[in-house]
Symmetry: C2
Subunit: 207 residues, 2 copies
DNA sequence: CATAGTTTTGACCATATGGTCAGAAAATAC
DNA sequence: GTATTTTCTGACCATATGGTCAAAACTATG
C-alpha cells in the first residue's frame, strides 16, 4: 500500500509519482471540470497507468480534493498581504498586480477554481463560507477604515474586491477569448492589462 | 421524424418539446459544462424521456450547439447598442448597466458561455474569432475615437472592454461565491454592484 | 370512426468510465 | 545474493452513457 509509513516519510518514488499525478490532474480538471474529467485522461497526461494512479490515490474524488486543498493554501495569500502599513492606494494596486501575476503564472489553478465555483462549488463551499469569507470581511473592514479616514474615495469595499477578483482572473479563465480578440496584439496582454488595471483602480480610489 | 415539414412550420408539440428540452439543457450544460452533462440529466430535468429527446435532436452535441447559437445572437447585443450618438461616459456606463442586468436576468446563459470558454471554447472559437472579434474591434475603435477627441481619459479600449465583461459576468458566473461572501448582505448585490461599477467607470473615464 | 401521420416508449446495444485484484516486476533491506 | 517490501500492470467488473429501433400510443384529418 502507498499512503505511507507514518514513521518514515514518503519514499522518493511516492513523492515523484503523486506530484506527477497531481500535475496531470490539474491540467485535466482545470480544463474539463470534475465531472467532465476522466481517470483515463489523467493517466494519459501523466504517463501513469490508471491502476497505478489508484494505488496512490483513493479515487478521482480524492485527487480533486487534494488539488483544491493545495489551491486554497496559496489562493488567499495575495489578499492576506494587503496591510494597513502602506499607502492605501498603493496597497490595493499592489494587490491587483499580485493577483494579475497569479493569473499569468498559475492559470490552471485559476481555471480549476473557476470550474468549481461555476458548478456551484459543491466541494469547496465550506472553504468559501469559512476562510474566504473571514479574510474578505477582514480586508473589507480595512478598506472601510481607509474610506472613513478619507484616504480613498467612498466605494463599496466588497464590490471593489469582487471587481479585482474578476478583472484579474479573467485573464486566466477567459484566456482563449482574450487572445482571440486581441489576435496579433495578444503577446503583451499581461503588460497592457497591468497598466490598464493600475490606471483604473488609481482613478477609482484616489480621493 | 421530427424536424419538420418545410412547407408547414413545426407543430405546436414540436415547438413546446424542443423549447422544454433546450430549457432543461441550458440548466444542465450551464452547471456542468458539455462533457460533464448527460442526456439522462436533461431527460430528468425536462421530464422528457431520453429516446424522445433524441427524436427532437440529433444528439447531445446538437442540443449544445443550438444553445450556443441562440446565446450568441443575444450575447453581443448590449455591446452593439453602444453608439457614437450620446455622451461617451454615459454610453459606456449604460453598456455596463445593460451587461450587469444580463448577468442578473440570464445567469445560466452567462455560465454556459463561461463553461465553454473555460474549456478552451472548442465549439465556439469561430464565433469568437469572427463576430465577437469584429464587434470588439469596431467598438474599441469607437472608444479610441473618443479618447483622441479628448472626451474620455486615455485608457486601453480592449482592456476596458475586458474589464466590463469580467466585472459584470462575475455576478452570474461566481454567484455562489458572491452570495457566500456577502452572506446576509447578499440580497441587494445587484443594486450595490450597479452603483459600484457606475462609480468606478465614471472615475476611470471622466477626463 | 377510420386512417395516416406524429409522438412516445421500453428494450436494447456499444462504448466509456471508475474502480478492483491477483500476481508480476522492481526497488530496498539484510 | 536473497528476502522483503514497494511499485506496477493486465485482466476484469459493474455501472453510466450516448444512441438505436421496432412497435405502441397518440393526434389530426377526412
Amino acid at each position: 500500500m502507498a499512503r505511507a509509513a507514518s514513521t518514515k516519510g514518503p519514499t522518493r518514488i511516492q513523492r515523484e509519482k503523486t506530484e506527477a499525478i497531481l500535475e496531470a490532474a490539474l491540467e485535466v480538471f482545470a480544463t474539463y471540470g470534475f465531472r467532465g474529467s476522466t481517470l483515463d485522461q489523467i493517466a494519459a497526461q501523466s504517463g501513469i497507468s490508471k491502476p497505478n494512479i489508484l494505488y496512490y490515490f483513493d479515487g478521482k474524488e480524492t485527487i480533486h480534493a487534494e488539488l483544491l486543498a493545495r489551491l486554497l493554501e496559496t489562493w488567499l495569500e495575495p489578499l492576506e498581504h494587503m496591510s494597513d502599513k502602506g499607502d492605501p492606494v498603493e496597497e490595493i494596486c499592489a494587490y491587483v498586480a499580485r493577483k494579475l501575476a497569479m493569473s499569468r503564472d498559475y492559470p490552471r489553478q485559476s481555471r480549476l477554481f473557476a470550474n468549481e465555483v461555476l458548478q456551484g462549488a459543491p466541494r469547496i463551499l465550506d472553504e468559501l463560507a469559512g476562510p474566504l469569507k473571514a479574510l474578505t470581511d477582514e480586508k473589507a473592514a480595512l478598506i472601510q477604515g481607509w474610506i472613513d479616514a478619507g484616504l480613498i474615495k467612498a466605494i463599496d469595499p466588497y464590490h471593489l474586491i469582487f471587481s479585482i477578483w474578476s478583472t484579474t482572473q479573467h485573464y486566466a479563465d477567459f484566456d482563449v477569448q482574450v487572445r482571440t480578440v486581441l489576435a496579433d496584439k495578444a503577446d503583451d496582454r499581461f503588460k497592457k492589462a497591468a497598466a490598464f488595471l493600475d490606471t483604473m483602480y488609481r482613478a477609482t480610489l484616489t480621493p
